[in-house]
């Protein structure tokens, strides 16, 4: 008998979703964390969502995850981004009260039946006959379980850098998890180093707000969770300021003192979220860079300097911060720093997030080379769901690229791997018209219901929404505007549902009206994408056994064979997405797979 059904290592955004997904299915789950005080901590920016990331949060929610509810209960500003750039790429983003978010996360875990929290550091993962069987901790405990979910974030052999200073740490002031990386390497896991960074936090009362532009949020605030109709919380502004020649000069003069440019950091950092020194060096023609000054919470004085992440020495940081309008007298509470950490090659994972090297071990979050709270939570949820599917002896849940951004995220990771911290972008998705944030519940809640992840209340809310959309459509069909039905009229780009001025429609919730409007307006494009998806479905549905013997198939080129063996795709569709695989090799493979099936 094992001590627990499952052990989740790490209490970050991935660990939260993984441990909740397991315990809510009734599995006795132990969450091992270095510090229960840091559960759900937002190590970097104080916001959740954004383009493509907001879609991830809504998908997590539609599958019964927690992130949407947590941010709804802790947000201090909310905006729908890119309203005028097209519906497929709009997404919600909220500023969070970090401390409230983290406290609510901890309280949620503590109050969930079957979920147990234990403070220690895991130094080894145990296995029996190639199957994960538990963990060993720093204080000498051996705890057994039937499944293990690994979510170490930036803590595995983490090291932070501030100029000439460096120290082993996962976050500033919090010790790294030492030893786990080595023991995984000795078991044959492929590891690499990645790097990310965070800007300084400064004291609010030391800032000159008169020198900055104010950035207000939307009113009313929309909810992330499909379980909430609206959010009634205070909305606090952010502030915008800019760097200038002086800032850039200070950075250039001191670039040699950067651990990144000095060669101390070897890990690969994200191109999409460069440090300020990167921006100054790579784009010398830019006269200024935008800086967002964001509150870290309601009660706190700490303000986050979004856009100023850096690993330059503290005296340089102070100097360039003080060269910026609004920040001339800023008092630095926490310095900016870079963190370098071990990640595990995601090519060693199946699309279920189960390791190919150890059965029963699921890996999620930044450990897999991603970045971002939302990407971590999405993987944590899927790892938790698939660990419990395994414990139940049932079929795993693999979302396709046309079903969810979560599907795109995991398919990219396990099929192509990643060389820099992977962040979700709308342009990674082929079918983003289908993957709108407002339709996440319609796409995913039925799947969640089947797996027992969605409660009755969630199912009922979806039914009501579907019913309301049908009603809205029939009202629009029955009304005539300018010689055609309101339904037809709405297809014109310049017409909005509000602009039609139909009184009966005011009875419906705004979010449902928007979903109906977008469905009607983009029906032609949606159909086109759906046809495209249908065309590829056969390939997606053609399964390849994970132990398929590629060497036994004649006619596949040796390069492709090596790639197939490294990735071990679970479908022909996935095999096709491996970069550099030849068309004819796919054809031979599919014939071989089909003929094996027939025996």
């Amino acid at each position: 008998m094992s001590d627990y059904d499952a052990i989740v290592i790490g209490g970050g955004h991935a660990g939260i979703e993984a441990s909740l997904a397991l315990s809510r299915q009734g599995f006795e789950t132990l969450l091992v964390t270095q510090s229960p005080d840091t559960i759900g901590r937002m190590s970097c920016n104080p916001s959740i969502g954004g383009l493509a990331k907001g879609n991830l949060v809504r998908e997590i929610d539609a599958l019964g995850g927690e992130m949407g509810k947590l941010i709804d209960a802790s947000m201090i500003q909310m905006r729908i981004l890119n309203r005028r750039r097209g519906p497929a790429v709009q997404a919600p983003r909220a500023q969070a009260d970090k401390f409230t978010y983290s406290r609510l996360a901890k309280e949620t875990l503590e109050s969930t039946p079957h979920l147990h929290i234990f403070m220690d550091t895991v130094v080894d993962i145990l296995s029996e006959d190639g199957h994960a069987s538990g963990v060993r901790t720093e204080r000498g405990w051996t705890i057994t379980s039937r499944a293990v979910v690994l979510t170490t974030g930036t803590f595995m052999d983490g090291r932070i850098f501030i100029g000439e200073y460096d120290a082993p740490a996962g976050r500033l002031g919090e010790g790294a998890a030492i030893g786990l990386g080595d023991s995984l390497r000795s078991k044959g896991f492929h590891t690499g180093r990645m790097k990310t960074g965070t800007p300084a936090r400064v004291k609010k009362s030391s800032l000159d707000f008169g020198e900055m532009e104010v950035q207000a949020g939307d009113d009313p605030m929309e909810a992330f969770s499909f379980m909430n109709d609206a959010v009634d919380r205070p909305s606090i502004p952010c502030w915008v300021t800019y760097t200038n020649d002086e800032t850039h000069r200070i950075i250039r003069d001191n670039i040699g003192r950067s651990p990144l440019y000095g060669g101390k950091i070897v890990g690969r950092g994200p191109r999409y979220c460069p440090s300020i020194e990167d921006k100054v060096v790579r784009f010398p023609e830019r006269e200024r860079h935008q800086i967002f000054v964001e509150p870290e919470g309601i009660g706190t004085e700490e303000m986050y300097l979004n856009g100023l992440s850096s690993s330059l020495p503290e005296d340089v940081q102070r100097a360039f911060i003080h060269s910026i309008p609004g920040l001339r007298h800023a008092e630095v509470i926490r310095p900016a720093y870079a963190v370098e950490y071990d990640y595990l090659d995601p090519l060693d994972l199946y699309p279920t997030l189960e390791s190919k090297l150890m059965k029963g071990l699921f890996i999620a979050g930044q450990t897999n080379g991603t970045s971002g709270y939302e990407e971590a939570a999405a993987q944590g949820l899927m790892a938790g769901i698939n660990a419990s599917q395994m414990l139940k002896g049932e079929k795993p849940l693999i979302l396709s690229r046309s079903e969810a951004y979560i599907g795109v995220l995991i398919d990219d990771l396990v099929t192509k791997g990643t060389k820099e911290p992977y962040r979700m972008f709308t342009s990674r998705a082929e079918h983003r018209l289908i993957l709108r944030h407002d339709s996440a519940d319609r796409r995913l809640t039925p799947i969640a219901s089947e797996l027992g992840l969605a409660g009755n209340a969630r199912k009922e809310r979806l039914q009501v929404k579907e019913h309301e959309i049908a009603e809205i459509c029939s009202i629009l069909r029955s009304k005539r505007v300018g010689g055609k039905s309101a339904y037809e009229k709405l297809r014109e780009p310049e017409t909005t549902i509000e602009g039609l001025g139909i009184a009966e429609l005011s009875l419906f919730p705004l979010s449902v009206l928007t979903t109906a409007e977008l469905d009607i307006k983009y029906a032609g494009y949606l159909e086109r994408e759906t046809r495209e998806v249908e065309r590829t479905k056969r390939n997606e549905n053609m399964a390849i056994p994970s132990d398929f013997d590629y060497d036994s198939v004649d006619g596949i080129s040796s390069e492709s064979k090596e790639k197939f063996k490294a990735v071990r795709p679970l479908s022909i569709g996935q095999a096709m997405r491996i970069s550099g695989v030849r068309v004819s090799d796919i054809a031979v493979l599919s014939v071989a797979v089909r003929s094996r099936e027939r025996g």
Partner: protein, 435 residues
């Protein structure tokens, strides 16, 4: 990435692409009959499966291409087990090409090599052994690898296609950056690059038109063999055709009128004319024949003047003329282009000279030329997608992006596929991003 698939409508020529009495073009895939019907005067829709229907094949404008018999197969009956048809038409190269163009325009694409077999197998046609299927695909792989579209592209078209691809990636990256980052981070509005896109559309259509407008490829070139009586024209004609179609005789004046046939010289379909010998004669029938020969020479794309072994200067001149010396076996090699119909020596050189002269004449000044229906339809599809992108500006940037992606994917058979990573790479290298 182009790949084998099942169910989407495809066609392929089942007989060799060469002049012959009969050609068979097969089509297969969902709704392929419905797609084909507008091109055929016969009543195919109502016909039961496995029956032959007579009628005329017409192009999209209703112009008759050829008289044909079409066999209809409902789903589950044909070779692939998909809905299918087989066109039996005349084996004339222009006819085959025109039908191919018409099919492409109906949205039926040219099949990959081995794709029909692949489909038959995937649909569980058990009369086909697995081994055969695999073998055919493997074989098609080695064929298609050597004729890989990317490598086959000649320098000018490759350079132009790459330039268009790169410009489109730039445009798409400048658009995607707006979709990947919020308006607070990228406050500038995106403006549709009217001039660049307009220029690309024009170029795509001009390149596509090189295929359509080229008489060489649409109706073949006309090549006239001329020369004095008994100079060896018919011998050359026969050597070219490698079959005894014309009358070969040692007596002057046997070929009194002209004889015409279709053949391939290099990859160019050619109407080849063997003409009456040029000489002064009083005989009225023969005189008329010679007169016709002169007219034919005036309108020909190329006149191949066959010099008798003893003859030194031809009696005619012109731009569309090449000289060939015959009876090399008797006179020996003499520096000129020469051949012997007895030994076969030099015939190949003559053919090469003909085809290089023909294709040199055909290259339009500054537009690279393409050489297949597939390429042409890809280019036109890309141009259409860009027009759609322009028209969608008021609908939203996500829709515009979708059309530009479509244009890039249409071009992928000429340029190679563009992946989302290509776009992101361009985006990160061109824009300063990230808070």
């Amino acid at each position: 990435m182009p790949h084998y698939s099942v169910d989407d409508p495809i066609y392929a020529l089942a007989t060799p692409f060469a002049p012959s009495a009969l050609a068979v073009i097969r089509g297969s895939g969902d709704n392929v009959i419905q797609l084909f019907e507008p091109l055929f005067t016969g009543k195919l829709g109502k016909a039961p499966t496995n029956t032959a229907v007579h009628g005329y094949i017409c192009d999209q404008d209703g112009r008759k291409i050829d008289e044909a018999i079409v066999i209809k197969y409902s789903k589950g009956h044909g070779y692939t087990s998909e809905e299918a048809f087989e066109i039996m038409c005349h084996g004339s190269l222009p006819v085959i090409r025109k039908i191919s163009i018409a099919l492409e325009r109906q949205g039926i694409r040219e099949a990959e090599r081995g794709e029909f077999t692949y489909r038959a197998f995937m649909h569980g046609r058990m009369d086909l052994t697995e081994a055969e299927a695999v073998e055919e695909i493997v074989r098609s792989k080695s064929d298609s690898a050597s004729s890989d579209a990317l490598q086959r592209l000649s320098g000018s078209i490759k350079a132009e296609a790459d330039a268009i691809r790169s410009t489109l990636i730039d445009i798409l990256a400048s658009l995607e950056v707006q979709l990947d980052y919020g308006e607070d981070e990228i406050p500038e509005d995106w403006v549709f690059p009217e001039d660049e896109v307009g220029h690309i559309i024009a170029r795509l259509e001009a390149i596509a038109a090189t295929y359509e407008s080229s008489r060489l490829y649409s109706s073949g070139a006309s090549v006239v063999l001329a020369g004095k009586t008994n100079a060896g024209k018919s011998s050359l004609y026969n050597a070219i055709l490698k079959e005894n179609r014309s009358i070969v005789s040692a007596h002057e004046g046997t070929t009194r009128d002209y004889i015409e046939t279709e053949c391939m010289i290099g990859d160019i379909p050619v109407r080849l004319f063997d003409t009456a010998g040029l000489r002064d004669t009083e005989e009225s029938v023969e005189k008329e024949g010679i007169e016709r020969t002169r007219k034919l020479m005036e309108s020909a794309d190329l006149v191949v003047y066959v010099l008798d072994g003893n003859e030194s200067i031809p009696p005619i001149s012109g731009d569309n003329l090449i000289m060939v010396r015959s009876k090399r076996d008797i006179t020996g090699e003499c520096g000129d282009l020469s051949f012997s119909s007895v030994t076969g020596e030099g015939v190949e050189e003559v053919l090469k000279a003909i085809s290089s002269r023909l294709s040199a004449d055909d290259v339009p000044t500054d537009v690279p030329r393409i050489d297949s229906e597939r390429q042409r339809s890809c280019l036109l599809e890309a141009a259409a997608a860009l027009r759609d992108a322009r028209a969608a500006v008021s609908s939203g940037e996500d829709i515009v992006a979708m059309y530009i992606q479509l244009a890039l994917s249409a071009l992928s058979s000429l340029t190679g596929a563009v992946t989302t990573d290509d776009i992101l790479d361009r985006l990160f290298s061109s824009f300063c991003l990230g808070k």
